[in-house]
């Protein structure tokens, strides 16, 4: 069965993070109550007309740019006509003939080899409303009606579930860092439909669509189980028909939703209520210039500043951490130390307390001070851990916090005095050391740290101990 070749194409719908909806002034955002972010335009009320939110165009240009697409400088909208209760006007306004971006690619790295996944097109459209099926009836929530989307359609360029997962992870990263969408699959702001076919020849097999898969890892599982199903059917002499399936997480199988009707006709035609949108080069350039720092640039900088590749990936995976770290790019601090803290103790505290740095007392000034103290050995990581909660929760200065914990910054003379005292009281060990047992040094370090409650800089302790022992 190994001679079957798998072909995968993916359609992603990403909700755009705009303030208002695409064709009306209703709020585009989270609402506690159903049908509160709604006006006559969203309801498809007779006589209403769409307006066009410029923010949508800006975000769609950004998306086209990061997906390396050619931008259509003269574009219009089209109507896609079909009847469904979640479609208020009886048509969806989308872009069929002049998608904003065409012919792009996303580069992924599969087992160390780079591969370009072709983007057929990226087009702008409006979301439908949300149907909630309740007892025997369906309820409609129009808050989502008219939320702006971009649909990103790949070419059938992926040949495994692994590539599909890598593509989606990369796509998510690109859109997230271009401020296009928050790409939360679980919340529905990014939705994946996957087309899968298998074939033994160079002719593509029958395409099966798997709709609305709930997470990126499930996309991988869904493809694997679907490929297995298709091969089994073909091997037992069956013919496949185009159909739409969904992925059932519990059984790890795909389940039939509907067989595709031939000639599903959406009667596309140009939307006369919205004139052509003309994008000139100055406008496009201006949008691109104002892009936030993209993930590729961030990666480069972090690596150059010495952060290890594993940690760089961890930072990029969390936009909040990356954005926070970027505040210190031009500050004179050790970025490796800073990133270690952010990924380690700080991340745990923030997660545990579901908060963010800016909501706590651990301000930028303190952060710089802490990183520098740790970097120069003026504070040990043990002490950092000890004062961590206070750093977040107390307005007091770091010196005060250290004092409060009985840790005062020690002068060199004090440290030397302590060391001298310990050596004086442990002559037996000194003798052993001098007779060649170098492990004894560790014992002394331990004693010093114990005496100083860990507040001493280990580097200095070593240095002064050696000086004292060589006397």
């Amino acid at each position: 069965m190994s001679e079957y070749k798998t072909t995968v194409g993916i359609e992603v719908h990403a909700e755009l993070k705009t303030n208002t909806k695409i064709f009306s002034s209703s709020c585009n955002g989270y609402a506690n109550m159903a049908n509160t972010h709604v006006n006559v335009v969203d309801l498809g009320y007779p006589g209403t007309l769409p307006t066009l939110n410029a923010e949508v165009i800006v975000k769609a240009i950004r998306a086209s740019h990061v997906l390396n697409c050619k931008i259509n400088k003269k574009m219009h909208f089209d109507r896609k006509n079909y009847f469904y209760p979640d479609l208020p006007k009886g048509y969806q306004i989308t872009q069929a003939r002049t998608p904003i971006g065409v012919d792009g690619y996303v580069e992924i790295e599969v087992d160390g080899t780079k591969k370009k996944i072709g983007i057929h097109d990226i087009h702008i459209e409006e979301d439908t409303c949300k149907s909630i099926h309740y007892n025997n009836s369906s309820l409609l929530d129009f808050n989502r009606a008219g939320v702006p989307l971009v649909e990103i359609v790949t070419k059938p360029d992926m040949s495994s579930s692994k590539e599909a997962v890598l593509y989606l992870e990369k796509l998510r990263e690109l859109l997230l860092y271009a401020d296009v969408s928050d790409c939360k699959i679980e919340e529905g702001s990014m939705r994946c439909d996957v087309n899968v076919s298998v074939s033994k020849s160079s002719v593509l097999g029958t395409r099966i669509e798997i709709k609305n898969i709930g997470s990126i890892s499930n996309v991988g599982l869904a493809i694997d189980s679907e490929v297995k199903r298709q091969i089994e059917l073909l091997e037992s002499g069956n013919t496949l028909h185009e159909e739409t399936r969904r992925y059932d997480e519990k059984s790890n199988t795909t389940v039939l939703m509907r067989v595709k009707e031939t000639g599903n006709d959406y009667r596309y035609f140009p939307e006369a209520d919205i004139p052509y949108v003309i994008l000139d080069d100055t406008y496009i350039d201006n949008v691109i210039q104002h892009l936030p720092m993209l993930s590729s640039t961030r990666r480069e900088i972090y690596l150059k500043r010495g952060i290890n590749p594993v940690n760089v990936d961890k930072i990029i995976q969390n936009r909040k951490i990356s954005d926070y770290l970027n505040r210190y790019l031009d500050k004179n601090i050790n970025l490796v130390m800073a990133s270690n803290l952010l990924l380690g103790d700080i991340a745990s505290y923030l997660n545990k307390n579901s908060t963010s740095m800016d909501e706590t007392c651990f301000n930028e000034e303190k952060f710089i001070q802490v990183v520098n103290m740790l970097d120069k050995g003026d504070m040990s990581s043990k002490i950092f851990k000890e004062i961590l909660n206070d750093l977040f929760e107390s307005n007091e200065s770091i010196d005060n916090l250290l004092n409060k914990h009985g840790i005062s910054k020690m002068s060199d003379d004090d440290l030397k005095a302590i060391i001298k005292n310990i050596i004086d009281n442990n002559q037996d060990n000194v003798t052993q050391y001098k007779s060649g047992n170098e492990r004894i040094l560790k014992y002394f370090v331990g004693q010093v740290m114990k005496e100083t409650k860990g507040s001493a800089d280990p580097v200095l302790v070593n240095k002064y101990l050696l000086e004292e022992l060589s006397k």
């Binding site: 006559v40 309801l43 498809g44 009320y45 007779p46 006589g47 209403t48 007309l49 769409p50 307006t51 066009l52 109507r79 006509n81 009847f83 209760p85 208020p88 006007k89 009886g90 048509y91 409609l140 000639g263 006709d265 009667r267 596309y268 035609f269 140009p270 006369a272 209520d273 919205i274 004139p275």
Partner: protein, 483 residues
């Protein structure tokens, strides 16, 4: 009984300013005339209570503009907040809008008083107003004749002097043709001059709201009031609103006028052609030049119109599905049953016919064969008009091939009525302004109208010519209908 409504807007305004009359006198007179002429069936809904209340409120306000306190009728496809808006369809028989069309807000800003909603063809689909769910309005000049359509109720109530002002809408001649049949002045402005927000869409790329009045000056006044850019309508023009009355009364000497040969061909009744010839001579005698020209594809305009308008209509009317507003069938068995029966029971025959034809025209390959091709030829018509306007100030010709015909005629041939609009449709195809000004009567004393077509945003020049003709002819257009 008073006869203030026979006066011009300027004359009424003077009386209001001098406190010789109050707005309520006008409103009461309008309702009295409407009641006495209810057989015209010009209105679907009257707003008696609110109109009287509004008139009383205005008594304490300064008469600050010419249109202050003037009763106005609104075609029933323009939404009015809290006032039933039916589109003359069973589908919207119980529909009370929750917002105002932009033009309605503009009318209320000028303190005009909305009297009621005018009868029309169902969803403006028709040329006779006979497709109305509420029965056809009648022509005041001869109540056995149609008022035309689709703005038949608006034309009928103006011709009968029930109100001095009305709004119509024109997708393929729906203001000009009934204005011609009823002997009134009607203007379809340049596409984009008046906001379409709140006009229940028939064919989005063609629809335009316009004023219908008894005389040219009043028409220009009303256009002044309703024009202008609207942020809610992306197709509305940013071009500044001019005073459309400003050229009225100016001489037409040196004006260059063109007549398309098609407009004077055999498709037009001889009596109408003769009247237009008389006007051509009148204009020549007064220093204008008149030349005959050809406009490319003008004879194909009806076919293009059918493709474009029905295609767009099939999509625009998809929202009437029984889910959110309007008619919804009883006890649907399931979703499909809800859709099917709501639309089957809610729409009339002509509307269903156009939705079906439109859906067919946009299906699969047809979209390319018909719709896209129609858009291309439509562009060519536009270009040909543009070429003409590079040389000529205005284009004239008849608006209709016949005068108003019998209320029962041509009922069995739905495609025949499209030919009523063969002379008015080219203007919509090119997005140009076109108007009707009455120029006389046929042997049965039924009105004949002249169509004046201008280049985009040249409404002022059209009014100049129309006012000149109106003054020279000084026709008696007053119908003695008040019993």
């Amino acid at each position: 009984m008073s006869k203030y409504l026979d006066l011009s807007i300027k004359e009424i305004n003077t009386l209001l300013k001098d406190k010789k009359i109050k707005p309520i006198d006008l409103v009461e007179e309008a309702f009295e005339r409407i009641d006495n002429n209810s057989d015209l069936n010009a209105f679907i809904t009257l707003d008696r209570e609110n109109a009287l209340k509004k008139a009383q409120e205005l008594e304490n306000k300064e008469v600050d503009n010419l249109l202050f306190g003037i009763p106005i009728a609104i075609k029933d496809n323009i939404v009015t907040k809290d006032l039933r808006t039916t589109c003359a369809s069973h589908m919207l028989d119980n529909f009370i809008p929750i917002y105002n069309a932009t033009v309605v807000d503009k009318i209320l800003d000028k303190n005009m008083i909305i009297i009621g909603k005018c009868n029309m063809d169902e969803f403006a689909m028709g040329s006779t107003s006979r497709t109305s769910y509420y029965g056809a309005p009648l022509n005041p000049w001869d109540k056995t004749k149609i008022a035309g359509g689709s703005s038949g109720g608006s034309a009928s109530c103006i011709a009968a002097r029930l109100v001095p002002l009305a709004l119509g809408s024109d997708t393929g001649g729906s203001i000009r043709q009934p204005s011609s049949y009823c002997g009134i002045v009607g203007m379809k402005p340049t596409y984009g001059r008046v906001s379409r927000y709140g006009l229940i869409a028939f064919a989005s790329s063609l629809d335009q709201i316009g004023p219908m009045t008894t005389n040219v000056y009043d028409n220009a006044l009303l256009l002044n009031a309703i024009s202008g850019h609207d942020d809610k309508d992306l197709t509305s023009s940013y071009r500044e609103v001019e005073d459309y009355t400003r050229l009225i009364g100016s001489d037409i000497k040196g004006m260059k006028i063109a007549v398309p040969n098609f407009f004077m061909s055999d498709i037009v009744d001889k009596e109408i052609k003769d009247k237009v010839e008389e006007i051509i001579n009148l204009l020549k005698d007064n220093g204008a030049s008149v030349s005959y020209i050809d406009i490319d594809y003008i004879e194909n305009a009806v076919t293009l119109y059918q493709i474009i308008a029905m295609g767009e209509a099939s999509s625009n009317l998809a929202r009437f599905d029984g889910v959110r507003y309007g008619y919804s069938c009883d006890n649907p068995k399931n979703l499909e049953d809800l859709y099917k029966r709501t639309r089957q029971e809610g729409f009339g025959d002509e509307v269903k016919r156009r939705i079906m034809v439109g859906s067919y025209l946009l299906s699969g390959e047809n979209a390319t064969t018909y719709y896209n091709k129609a858009l291309q030829i439509r562009d060519d018509i536009s270009k040909s008009f543009k070429k003409a306007f590079a040389e000529y100030d205005l284009i004239i010709g008849p608006n209709t091939t016949t005068v108003a015909y019998g209320i029962g005629a041509n009922l069995d041939n739905p495609s025949q009525t499209f030919l009523d609009d063969v002379l008015v449709i080219p203007v919509n195809m090119a997005g140009l302004p076109g108007m009707n000004v009455p120029i006389g009567f046929n042997h049965e004393h039924l009105p004949i109208g002249l169509q004046i077509i201008g280049d985009s945003f040249e409404e002022a020049k059209m009014y100049q010519l129309a006012a000149f003709i109106e003054k020279k002819l000084n026709l008696d257009l007053m119908r003695e209908v008040v019993k």
